[in-house]
């Protein structure tokens, strides 16, 4: 009887020992490394989440800045986007001059996003005042126009014949 009890105890002990070793092995070789991986990934995840939030915040601020810029410079952006129309220009500014003749609309420069078209203009005016008025008006036109040298004035009877070059600046990419 006594011997029987001992064998049973040893049997239980051996089984316990085997199961304990199994659990320890499982813990040390699988559970603990997995736990470490979990912890590392959780930290990295938090870090990435913070980076994402910061990035989102930055993007929102930039978008806000862009919206403000687009809103405050709507007219300029529209003017840069509008393709030059010689007929419309003549119709709008022909009234200023006795005679207005535009020629050679050609691209003279393509600097990055900006395209510059060169237009030669020949006009007849009553007095220089008309030309000053034209320069005032051209700053508020539908296009971005720069009047450039050389400018040639010549008397033709009571009128002044003037010829000059205008540069029309254009951008394709700007969103209105």
């Amino acid at each position: 009887m006594n011997l029987r009890m001992n064998i049973r105890t040893v049997y239980v002990l051996l089984l316990s020992l085997f199961l304990m070793i199994s659990i320890f092995m499982f813990s040390f070789f699988l559970l603990i490394p997995k736990g470490k991986e979990y912890r590392t990934l959780r930290l990295e995840d938090k870090k990435e989440s913070r980076v994402l939030d910061a990035s989102r915040e930055e993007q929102n601020q930039l978008q806000e800045k862009l919206d403000k810029l687009e809103k405050s410079h709507k007219v300029v952006i529209k003017a840069f986007k509008t393709s030059f129309n010689p007929q419309k220009f003549t119709r709008l500014y022909g009234k200023e001059f006795q005679d207005l003749f535009l020629s050679e609309l050609e691209m003279s420069d393509h600097n990055g996003s900006f395209k510059v078209y060169e237009v030669n203009a020949t006009t007849k005016i009553n007095s220089p005042e008309t030309f000053y008025h034209f320069l005032d008006q051209v700053n508020h036109s539908d296009w971005i126009i720069g009047v450039n040298f050389p400018i040639h004035f010549e008397r033709e009877g009571d009128l002044i014949k003037s010829s000059f070059t205008m540069k029309v600046h254009h951008i394709d990419e700007v969103k209105e």
Partner: protein, 175 residues
């Protein structure tokens, strides 16, 4: 006929103690396996989330670059527009000042204005009137001034006045 005083009982392969031990160990193993399963699931979830975050960050970076490019473009467009507008105004003032310089008794027939030069063709009643009333102010503006006179039938003079600015002073009216 009985051979033993004790009643026969069924023998079990697993005794009560072993069953108890096995029960507790099964619970332990179950808990450990469950913990492992939970960690594996969460690790996979974090990994997927991290990949998705990475993708989102890349997209946001791209979007930010596009917005920045657009902001730069608009800023440079606005700057260019202001420059052009200012140049037009400066040009207007320059031409205005030039015509204001010409006195009433001198008549201009032709004027060629360039960035660095001004050539005037006109008629003056006499050389002195030209020199005092037009050449003097022109000389104060331009670095080099040359004038040629051609007498005409009525005793007046046709003149050609050529005026140049040196390079460093050409700052006012530029493209």
């Amino acid at each position: 006929m009985m051979y033993s005083f004790s009643a026969p009982r069924s023998k079990r392969i697993i005794s009560g103690e072993i069953r108890l031990a096995l029960f507790f160990f099964m619970i332990s193993i179950g808990m450990v396996v469950l913990a492992y399963g939970f960690l594996t699931y969460r690790t996979q979830q974090f990994d997927e989330q991290r990949k998705s975050f990475g993708k989102d960050i890349k997209q946001l970076e791209h979007s930010k670059r596009e917005i920045e490019k657009r902001i730069l473009l608009i800023e440079s467009a606005v700057k260019k527009s202001e420059e052009i507008s200012t140049n037009n105004m400066v040009m207007k003032e320059s031409i205005h000042n030039l015509f204001d310089l010409v006195p009433d008794n001198i008549t201009l027939n032709k004027a060629d204005l360039d960035k660095k030069s001004l050539i005037l063709y006109g008629v003056t009643p006499n050389k002195d009137a030209y020199e005092f009333m037009l050449q003097a102010p022109l000389k104060s503006i331009f670095h080099r001034t040359y004038t040629s006179f051609y007498p005409i039938e009525n005793g007046w003079y046709n003149f050609v006045s050529t005026n140049y600015l040196e390079d460093e002073s050409v700052t006012e009216v530029q493209e």
